[in-house]
Amino acid sequence: MKFEQNYIDIFNQNRALIDQGSAGALNALRDKALDCLERNGLPHKGLEEYLHTDVAHWFEPDWGMNLSRLDMHVDLAQAFRCNVPNLSTLLYFLANDEFALSDTAAKASLPDGVFVGSLRRAAKELPAIVESHYGTLADMDRPGIAAVNTMFAQDGLMIYVPDGVILDKPLQLVTLLHSPVDLMVNRRILIVLGRGAQLRLLLCDHALAANNFLTTQIVEAFAGAGSSLELYDLEETHNANLRVSEFYINQEADSNVEADFVTLHNGQTRNSVFSTFVGRGSNLSLNGIATIDREQHVDNMTFVDHRVSDCTSNELFKYVLDDNASGAFAGKVLVRHGAQHTESQQTNRNICLTRQARMFTQPQLEIYADDVKCSHGATVGQLDEKAMFYMRQRGIPEKEARMMLMQAFVGEVIGHIALEPLHDRLNRLVEKRFRGELSQCEGCRACRE
């Protein structure tokens, strides 16, 4: 019990203020969350799941918290003009954790029954749906940040797509960190898809100011029977940004979920993905890229729980580590008793470009059913010398050859991403990243600063 005490005190002193800036379902879970934090504390290096990322220490500084929900004065339209070429999206913002609409999204009319908006507002307007879903996947009793997030989260994004509704246009949520002081942000995203519903969501994480930030983020996604969810999470922040995210995915029968995690530029990142199959015949595809340098750190942890039979999960994570960067990947696949005909494949490949770069990888299989096909593979190595030689022989300069090989290396993951217009953009960003330029687009203030 070290750093959490400070947060317990802040919570107890400001409970009324926190509740006042939020709404019903969010406030209802705070007492339980407090109890969990008091019992379990913050996730620290002593826990196997957090061996390589000491998240508890991230909570040590005296972070500012905007509990009274002061307006931060961000002109979102000015701040962000970052488009994915050839992809038209409905754009939404979370400025820190405050929801805002873009002009286009405000004018767009969504199909009947669809809700895309502030979670706080949803708690008032769709109380039944929010109450029956909010906090039901995020397990506050396991090591993690679900408890502390639930204590402080006041707003976020809610997406509800009723049965049979297909959203043709992808939604894009841009989260912008902006503050005159060092700030801790606790945000929440709740996605509920009805039977046969379809949704594509692009999450873009940016930092608008050069201050230090700590973000805790919980995403809970419910994929109803026969539904389809594509979730793309792109992180392009800066070196002073600490981000700890937990994604919880619940898949009912015959649903398809793709979740991709791309860390192009960051400070320290920890992503945990907990995915559960509760209905038969579902598919899950989890992919990840981390291209990091300097002192950056990316730790992706995935836990795929095959509770029922006839489901398929595929995972592909690739890291390129330069300078003093460090990476960690831990992927666990649990096939429970009776989950026959499970197919699961997990691959993690990593390239260390310097002597100081460090990679830790830990794929795990835990299997209690016999009629299954499960495999995992992990490698840590360098660029293929033979391929380098081949290209040099043909007159390609060494630097260029390295670049091409690294691009091809992460290109495999990009190729797995279902949203094709994203390929070009990611390829371009990755190339810039490898060329040593900041991995940012030029269009907006978010990237220029």
């Binding site: 470009l353 990679m359 830990q362 299989l365 299997i367 190595g381």
Partner: protein
């Protein structure tokens, strides 16, 4: 008798027949009182006639053990162990009366080892055979071919004898690979260890025969805590085999051993184990808890250590034979077949720690789970900052026979050097129905077909065993799989 109870009695018969080493020997054994205190440690040291430094070593370990807690990180469900309800020293060689003649072995003990297929008469051994150190409970009963080996300068004796006769070597190397602070069971062993084998192969000597230690638990209410130390000096070679069995009892018996190996320049050590402690009955009653720390320091340039293990016994196995690849060009190998049936649990694997340049390691692990058993592979590949050109390849396959068992893989890779290449592959699947069908079609009954396929699956590892062991291991795999059909 109804059909169900008939079936049960049949199962009982088969399982009783299955573990053919489950008998006990009625031999006068002096067992010290149960419990573990500083006095127990002093008593063991006194019984073994040890010098003061050895007692100090034990006491330091005991005091450290008191500050430790039993580890719970393994994927094992270990019932509470009452360390005060175990006797830590049992000597079956003490005569009831009459003068002590150390060379004379109780005929009952001789018979026991004969029955186990371990001839203690040198004349009975196969030509060019195997030198055996036979350990029953806490004491080494006999070491064969000592004279033949001594002619080449090889020391092969019990640990107790080594402490008395070669104190300098023992002091130099004992605890140098597995420190008493290493883990809970290492501390316990360092405090109360009894006989194991001590091997020293001098410079440039290739050991002319296989060396072997056979461990036997006989007395009830005891644990076995043997300690083995192998030192292979420059340019030497030795192949060492280890076998073990225990009687069938309803109580669980604890076996917590330490094996330390030091391999110097260009030397090679091959360490093979066929572990066949009593696994418990079909309801999970009884069986040995096998909590072992095995580690080799591959210290020399171009030195090599190879671990091969066939694990079919024990109720619970907690064992990770490891290589610390310190010398430039050092090589480590780990070949393992771990079979669990009924209610057995195994959490086993290896650690390859690459410290020197151009070090290489290979890990091949084959897990087979049947019945209600749980079988885990846990391994660590660590590449240090200075281990330029380190290379590792790991392959872990699991085979599931039955829907009630579990197969798990927990590999860890920690790479701190950009020139390293580390590869890991793992697969889990059930036995191929096509292969079974093919065998059945040709008139091979189901049980035999499974045995055949499993042996083929494990062949990559079995091939690494010395011949005598390979035959035994193949038979063991087939026997352990009896009754897994359906």
């Amino acid at each position: 008798m109804d059909t169900a109870s008939q079936d049960n009695s049949l199962i009982r018969e088969i399982s009783a027949e299955k573990y053919r080493y489950g008998f006990t020997t009625d031999v006068h054994t002096e067992i010290i009182d149960r419990g573990l205190t500083e006095d127990t440690v002093r008593l063991i040291s006194e019984r073994k006639g040890e010098p003061e430094w050895m007692l100090e070593f034990r006491l330091k370990a005991y005091r450290h053990w008191l500050t430790m807690e039993m580890p719970h990180w393994a994927h094992l469900d270990i019932p509470e162990i009452d360390y005060q309800n175990i006797s830590y020293y049992a000597d079956p060689t003490v005569k009831k009366q009459g003068p002590k003649n150390l060379d004379e072995i109780d005929p009952q003990v001789m018979k026991t080892f004969d029955k186990l297929g371990i001839p203690l008469e040198e004349r009975l051994a196969l030509s060019g055979g195997v030198a055996v150190d036979a350990v029953m409970d806490s004491v080494s009963v006999k070491t064969t071919f000592k004279q033949t080996l001594a002619e080449k300068g090889i020391i092969f004796c019990s640990m107790g004898e080594a402490v008395r006769n070669h104190p300098d070597l023992v002091r130099q190397y004992l605890g140098s690979v597995v420190n008493y602070r290493d883990n809970f069971f290492a501390a316990l062993n360092s405090a109360v260890f009894s006989d194991g084998s001590f091997v020293y192969i001098p410079k440039g000597v290739r050991c002319p025969m296989e060396l072997s230690t056979y461990f036997r638990i006989n007395a009830a209410g005891t644990g076995q805590f043997e300690r083995t130390l192998i030192v292979a000096d420059d340019d030497s070679y030795v192949s060492y085999l280890e076998g073990c069995t225990a009687p069938m009892r309803d109580e669980n018996q604890l076996h917590a051993a330490i094996v330390e190996i030091v391999v110097l320049d260009r030397a090679e050590v091959k360490y093979s184990t066929v572990q066949n402690w009593y696994p418990g009955d079909e309801n999970g009653r009884g069986g040995v808890y096998n909590f072992v720390t095995k580690r080799g320091l591959v210290k020399g340039v171009d030195a090599k250590l190879s671990w091969t293990q066939v694990e079919t016994g024990s109720a619970i196995t907690w064992k990770y034979p490891s290589c610390v690849l310190q010398g430039d060009g050092a090589q480590g190998e780990f070949y393992s077949v771990a079979l669990t049936n009924n209610w057995q649990q195994a959490d086993t694997g290896t650690k390859m720690i690459h410290l020197g340049r151009n070090t290489r390691s290979t890990v091949i692990s084959k897990g087979i789970s049947a019945g209600h058993s749980q079988n885990s592979y846990r391994g660590l590949i660590k590449v240090g900052e200075h281990a330029d050109g380190a290379r590792n390849y790991s392959q872990c396959d699991s085979l599931l026979l039955g829907s009630e068992c579990g197969a798990h893989t927990f590999p860890y890779m920690d790479v701190k050097n950009e020139t390293a290449i580390v590869e890991h592959e793992a697969t889990t699947s059930k036995i191929s129905e096509d292969q079974l069908f093919y065998c059945n079609q040709r008139g091979i009954p189901m049980e035999q077909a499974i045995g055949l396929i499993v042996n083929g699956y494990a062949k990559e590892v079995l091939n690494k065993l010395p011949m005598e062991f390979a035959v035994e291991a193949q038979r063991l795999l087939s026997v352990s799989l009896e009754n897994t059909v359906g």
